[in-house]
Each structure stands twice: as C-alpha cells, then as structure tokens.
C-alpha cells in the first residue's frame, strides 16, 4: 500500500492540492477552470454527466476569484475551485431540471442555501449534473434526458440518483460536486465511481433550494476525491439556516482540523446483517481488508447487530413514496413546469400536464405513495412504517453504546450493466445497505476501498453518530490517507 503520487493533470488533483497551488500563485483559477472545461469537452461525449454547463459564467467566476486573490482577499480553500452541482439544487439564473421533462425549461430565480455558501467560499459553480428523474433511482437510467456512463466502464451505470455528480468527478470534469441523498443517492454512486461521498446528519446542511423528493430523508452532501476534501467542502455548506425548518442549530466544528487531532483508536462495529446473502464476494473481501487495517492500527473491532435491517427497504419505499406523492403534487402545470397544450378544463390540465411531464419511475412512486396514504390503508402501511423506522433508528443508537462507528459495504455489488435491472424491485434492492442511514438520520460516508477483478470500483461505508461528522471523517481519513484507491483515475 503506497501513498498516492500527486496526479499530474490539474483536473485530477484534490481540493487540498489545488488550494496550495492557488495560494502559492503557481496556478490561477482561470487556468484551473480552463483545464476542467477542456477535460469536460474532451470526455463528456462518452461520460454524459452534465445536463448543462455555462463556460462563460464559470470563467467569469474564476476571473473574479483571481482578482480577489491578487487583492489579498482570498476566501479560503474553496476559492477558485470548480464545483459541479446536481441538477436538483438551485443556482440563480441557471437551468434546474431534476432531469425531468416537467422542469425542462425551468430557470432558478434564486440560489439554494448551499449554493450561496459555496459562492461565499469563493467556489466556481460549474455545470448542472444529471440524475435519475427527481432523484428517484439508483442508476441515472431514469433521467428523462440521457443515461450517464460509469467512467471505469462505459457499459456500466454510474449509480444514482446522483450519478452525474459521481461520474463527472471521477472523469475529471469537476474538482468536487454536490449531490443529494435520500436512500443512498450520494454514497451508492460514489462507491460505483471510486470517489468519496458524504451524506451528513439530517439537519446539518440546509435543504432550502433543493428540489424536494422525501423531505424527512433528503440531505445534501459532497462528492470529493479524498476524505480531506469532504471535510473542506462540508465546512463550507454545513450550518443552521432559518429558511429550512428542519435545520438544526449546533456549533460547527473545524472538520479539517479534526482529521489531525482525532487519532483514535476507535471502536468499530461490524453488523452481521450487512454481510449476508446477496453480497458479492469481492466486495466482502475488500471491506474485510479495510476492517483488518483498522484492527492493525489498534481499533477495537466488535460485532454488533442491527436486527431490523431486513425491513429497511420496505419502510423506505412506504415513507419515501408517501412523501414524494405529497411533494410532487405541486407540479400541476399552473405556476411553473410543463403545461399540457390540449387540456379541456382545469382538472384535465392537472391530469395531462402530470402525465406528459413525469417519467415512468416517478409515476410509479406517486401511485405507490398515494396508495399507502389513501383512506383505509394509512395505518397498515404509513403508520406501521413510521413505527418500524423508530425500531431501525433504535438499533443504531443501541449499537452506538458500544462502538464509535459502523463499517459496512456501501453496495452489494460493483457497478452493473445498463439495462440490467429493468424490474423496479431489483433496482430498489441496490440501496439495501444505505437506506438505514437515511431512516435513522445518521451521517454516512462511502470511501473507495478496492477494485473488482473486472476493474470496477468498490466502496465501503462508515456510519457515524448524529452530528459527529468530525469523528466520522477522522475515522474515514485514517484509512483513505493510508491507501491510494481514491486517487486512482479511470482510463478514458
């Protein structure tokens, strides 16, 4: 195991490396942004990670960053760094489509809070990244526009729903990206594309300006090349926001400093329920090697049990679809979004605008969510799911009496071929290891930990305690900084 050599191309470097180069004036943000744009123009035809990008706007932001730095007013490690944004997060004046025909022509009239925060940190907001329509899916195949490819094998999916965010970063088309995670939509594509993906504790990062899917589960988080970069990016986007009523008022620690000050050894739990049937043997072997690494550094490895794990997918598909059927009722063709051209009256306008604007997976989930909330079924499905959710959360909190973090595979298998999971239920089961974290509101991070014999990336998931991202990142960094998996790049 070697420490990674610094990649030679600017577009493959980490935020930490580039921030040092920018600070020493070895490079400018305009040079860096031009390198990312040139890389995007060279590979995007094959990767298809973006829904749109605005070259002139990005270069103008980069020039403004360089001017700040020349005036001695640089804003910090993100100043001048090109960061891509999942196309469900609002950026003023830019398209915001959710990869749906419903919002194909929508232009954001305001910034999401995370966008504002990135701008205040000096980041160059770069491009709108593809996803499964309205973030519903695990492969980006549900995008109404195009399917994003996995940079490690163009016949495979990049995962989803934030597939564009993961693929763009892996392909060198951005230096970091933002995604959103409702049931694994950051961690799963991160694992499949060999990048780091962090889902923060529910309430740590504002959801204001994020297109809502399932509001009690959705959380915005970063995709980065290293765990250190995840700490840097989280620092910029975390914090209380009066515009999000579920935003939590807590003191935000210095996450990057914590990587150095928190050295372990930690107590790490292995839940047996996450290493059973359906787990690919190569994935299991890679995660077990990571466990041995922690053991060798002096961590205490303990078996823990999360007995309600098997109910996670069922609970998730009741709660997430119920919330989505409610959230997506706003798309009625009246105030914004697609409006049917041949409606005969107002009710017909609702029916047809929604039928024409939504794709099959979104319709399926609206139907399921409407059903589980409908009169006569509420107690049997929704209320019961919320009670089982309590038990799932309690499982984790019980485990945290004994351990500091939990380690699992992020996904049961490496990336699968496009078209391989045509059956919705098969696709839903891709999220079996990531869903519990959303239901319990916990922070989770996927860290690259190896490759399959066919050259596909493998990720491990570390799950932390609520609002203890500083500890989670330190534990993840101990592994990441001692291995070079996350610094490897695809042959594109």
């Amino acid at each position: 195991m070697s420490t990674a050599a610094m990649p030679s191309e600017l577009f493959n470097k980490s935020i930490a490396e580039l921030a040092a180069l920018l600070e020493s004036k070895a490079i400018t943000s305009v040079q860096l942004t031009q390198a990312v744009i040139a890389r995007t123009q060279a590979v995007e035809e094959r990767v298809k990670a973006f829904n749109s990008f605005d070259v002139a706007d990005a270069l103008a932001q980069a020039a403004a960053s360089d001017a700040r730095r020349a005036a001695g007013q640089a804003l910090g490690p993100l100043d001048g760094i090109p960061i891509g944004i999942k196309d469900v997060i609002a950026v003023t004046g830019q398209p915001l489509t959710a990869s749906s025909k419903m919002l194909a022509n929508f232009v954001s009239p305001y910034d999401a809070t995370v966008t504002q925060k990135l701008k205040k940190a000096g980041a160059v907001i770069w491009g709108r990244l593809n996803l499964d329509e309205f973030a519903m899916g695990s492969s980006t195949e549900n995008s109404a526009f195009h399917t994003t490819r996995n940079p490690y094998n163009l016949d495979c999916v990049p995962g989803g729903s934030s597939g564009g965010s993961a693929a763009a970063l892996a392909a060198g088309e951005a230096i970091a990206t933002l995604g959103s995670d409702t049931g694994g939509s950051i961690r799963q594509p991160a694992a499949l594309c060999n990048v780091v993906g962090l889902k923060p504790t529910y309430g740590l990062v504002s959801r204001f300006g994020l297109i809502a899917f399932a509001s009690s589960l959705d959380q915005i988080g970063p995709f980065t090349r290293t765990v250190e970069d995840a700490a840097i990016t989280l620092q910029a986007i975390a914090g209380y926001d009066e515009n999000d009523s579920t935003s939590v008022k807590i003191e935000i620690p210095d996450y990057r400093a914590a990587l150095k000050t928190k050295k372990g050894p930690w107590r790490i739990g292995i839940p047996k329920e996450y290493f059973g049937e359906g787990l690919d043997p190569e994935v299991a072997a890679a995660v077990e090697k990571a466990v041995s690494f922690y053991e060798k550094m002096g961590c205490e490895i303990k078996n823990v049990s999360l007995p309600h794990t098997e109910y996670g997918v069922g609970v998730y598909y009741i709660i997430a679809t119920a919330e989505c059927s409610s959230n997506l009722s706003r798309y009625d063709g009246i105030r914004y979004g697609h409006r049917s051209a041949d409606a005969k009256d107002i009710v017909d306008l609702y029916y047809k605008s929604r039928a024409e604007g939504f794709g099959p997976e979104v319709k399926r989930r609206i139907i399921l969510g409407t059903y589980v909330l409908s009169s006569g079924y509420y107690d049997a499905y929704y209320l019961r799911a919320q009670k089982v959710r309590t038990l799932i959360r309690q499982d984790f909190l019980n485990a945290y009496n004994e351990v500091d973090a939990i380690i699992t595979p992020t996904t049961p298998t490496p990336a699968f071929k496009r078209g391989a999971k045509a059956d919705p239920l098969a696709m839903y089961l891709c999220d079996v290891y990531t869903i519990g974290v959303n239901l319990a509101g916990l922070p989770g991070i996927s860290v690259p930990c190896g490759f399959s014999s066919s050259g596909l990336p493998i990720g491990m998931q570390l799950i932390g305690q609520p609002f203890k991202e500083a500890d989670l990142l330190a534990i993840a960094n101990a592994y990441d900084s001692a291995h070079d998996w996350s610094r490897r790049t695809p042959n594109l």
Binding site: V107, G203, T246, I334, D345, Y351, A355, K387, R393, L425
Partner: protein, 96 residues
C-alpha cells in the same frame, strides 16, 4: 396479508391527478403488487407500544417573527409561469 385485491389503479390515479394509459395501468398494477408483496414483511414486526418516527430528530415547530422581508420580485416569481399576462398567471376558466 396477501397483495390487496382491491388495488384499484383508477381510484389511485384519480387521487394523484395523474392520467395513465391502459398500458401503464396494467404494468404499474403488476409492479406495485410486486413491491407491496415485499413490503408485507413489515407485518411480521411487533410494533406494540412503539412511537412512530416522522423525523429522525425531534424538531419542533419553528416560529418566525411576523415581519415583512424582501422576497422575489414579481418578474422573478413569474419567470417560469407557463402562461402569463399583466403580472398574473393565466389558467383555464374554472367557473361557468
């Protein structure tokens, strides 16, 4: 409990204000039955005395002071309206 025999796709589509084609109705009914079968597992869990969780962390109502603050301009608010006239959104006639 098996898959509900009363999975009435027309009733649900109507509640969701979603027009479905005959092909979509057939396909979605079968797929939803599959998913619901999987969900039936939840019936095995003893939830006696368990409180439901709506949010992972107890968050109570958040109150804001009732003070006017700058918001979107009319132009920005109407920027994405499918049809507009005189600073208003145009909709089909709703009363006879």
């Amino acid at each position: 409990m098996s898959v509900p025999e009363d999975l009435n796709i027309d009733r649900i589509a109507n509640l969701a204000r979603l027009a479905l084609t005959p092909e979509e109705k057939t396909k979605f009914s079968a797929q939803l039955a599959d998913v619901l079968t999987n969900i039936e597992k939840l019936k095995q869990v003893d939830v006696t005395g368990v409180e439901p969780t709506a949010h992972a962390f107890p968050i109570y109502n958040v109150w804001a002071d009732d003070v006017a603050k700058p918001g979107l301009s009319v132009e920005d608010a109407l920027r994405n309206a499918p049809e507009k006239r005189d600073n208003m959104i145009v909709v089909p006639k709703v009363v006879e």
